[in-house]
Amino acid sequence: MPQEGNSREPADPMKLWEPWYETASKAWSNTSDGSKQAYVDPFGFYQTWLKSVGNAQEQVQEQLKAGSFGTMDPKEAWKLWFEATTTIWEKAIGKGTDPLGLTTQWLEMMEEARARILAETNIPADPFTLMKQWYDATSESWATVIGDIIGTERFMESSSQFLESYTSLYRTFSRANEEFFSNLQLPTRSDIARVAELVVEVEDKVEQVEDAIEDLEDNYSKVVSSTLDGRFDQVEKKLAAFPTVLQKLTTVDALEKRLDQVERKVDALPAALQKLTTVDDVEKRLDRVESKLDKLLIVLEKIEAKESPKTSKPTTPTPGKAQAAKREPSKGQALPVEAESVSRRTK
């Protein structure tokens, strides 16, 4: 957009084109003159080439005037062309206008091409085939020659100068055009570019927002998935506990069986205990029997004691002796059956 405070008069681009035209014309004029200041053709190649073409044209015209061209053999035409184009170059070398020896190289190349093409038995009259043959015969040499030209410091220097002057001029024109249209209150290319820059910036911000939202979505889904993961873990843990519980249940089942067994055994206990009670009763009865036997023994001792004074005066036995006597009866004395059984039980 036009900038405020710019009070300069609009510059007419046509006025700027004028010096450009003059500069360009001068450059071409220098080129055709072989001037050393020319950027485009520092070695006068164009001039030489143009002269060679003109020379060839003249020679062909002479042939036509002589009426011999119509029946000319293609080989003859080629010879004529080579001779016409190479003579001028040879002359150029003679004048010392070949500072880099490039023309010599070119001439060598032409000679090589001539030899190759003329070696062919049939020179095609078809211009396209001929052109292909010509290219195949000369392209490599051409590439070498041109490569040699371009690859020199001198060529680079000339190109550099040309580029510098061209870019400088281009900048000047661009600036002048900008000013001219600005002063005419017309939007220029750079004005539109500025607007486009703003659009790009806005787009960039939208992109950033979109990016942030996407990140948020991704992160949210990650958080949700991680929460779900946690809960799933818990459920999984609980599920993992199930086999243990089930195993325990199996253990309980086993225990139940064992309990059943225990119960059965416990059930069997009363009977056993009852049996034990019976034994107890027997014991009591035995006690009673023993008691009765004791009483009986005492009675027997008393009876014995009553009878013994009649035979001898018995010494009064101590209770131990009495008992020993009871346990060890004299020879030939038989104990009563009841007494014997009591003695066994005591043992």
Binding site: A125, T129, K132, L163, S168, Y170, E207
Partner: protein, 357 residues
Amino acid sequence: MNQNKTTQSDFDSAFKKYRTGMQIILEGAKADTGQTPKEVIWTKNKAKLYHYEPMVEKRFPIPILMIYALINRPYVLDLMPGNSFVEYLVKHGFDVFMLDWGTPGDEDKKLSFEDYVLDYIPRAVKKVLKAARAEEISLLGYCMGGTMTAMYAALFPDKLLRNLILLTAPVDFTPDDMGLFGLMTSPKYFNPDHVVEAFGNIPADFIDTGNRMLKPVTNYVGTYVTMWDRLMQGKSMDTWLAMNKWVNDGVPFAGEAFRQWIREFYQQNKLVKGEITLRGRKVDLSNISCPILSIAGSKDHICTLPQAEAIKRVVSSKEVDFHVVDAGHVGLMTGSDARKDVWPTILHWLEPRSSKE
């Protein structure tokens, strides 16, 4: 054409061919390029991220993102059916993506390598991973795109980068190894500031002229000799037209990026020395540790062999496969030799490295 007897039909045929040839020269080559079905899944400014539609069942979970140079159209990798590297990979079950930088306008003259390497590529990688539902990626960089991909790999040496494929990617810019380019970009003869200040963005023709001047006879004459030859012999013109269209379909170079490219890469050779810094972040190529496949052409005059081969000595990857093929800068990936040699080489290298570990 019969040399002895020229018939009316011969004349008509020759005239028709001549008219076709002149039409191509005057109007430019026309061809349907980039026909592999694709979808734009993301855009940023002029850049677009393409996702190629699968043609067979996906065999490899690791997606491939192709990154081309800033100054040419990426459809050279998807030239035409039957001569498309993209189609080749898709048909072999790869999930293929491509980053198309688009055409910078006047408003983009300040775009720099900082923007491309730190903003565009990481975002594109993120989008690819999301679209492919993958956690790892293979990156394929061609020419300057390869250099930029290597820079990205050095700055983001995270685990998501599984494989790195570099095609004719210059890494070392030692002037003696660059042939004529070394002289053309020498600070003695070329000041990028002058060009940037004059043009803003560097016109495609300017860049193209510089490249063509490396082989002027082949590029300015040989191409059209081939055209006439093919026309006159009645050979198929499809590939020639597609290639010629691509060659003449250059993209302007964003001014600031051009200044950096010439000054910091070509004139100061900072990349291989580890002296490039992007927004304060040092680009150290030794940070790259993933497997690398680098392919260079022995006839390449834009990225010479030593320039590409340098990757072997600057990265810390245990696996660096460097292949040299008998081809030029573009012929490396197009044409019948590419189909027979380079494409299968890439495919067989990628296949075992594109499965989940």
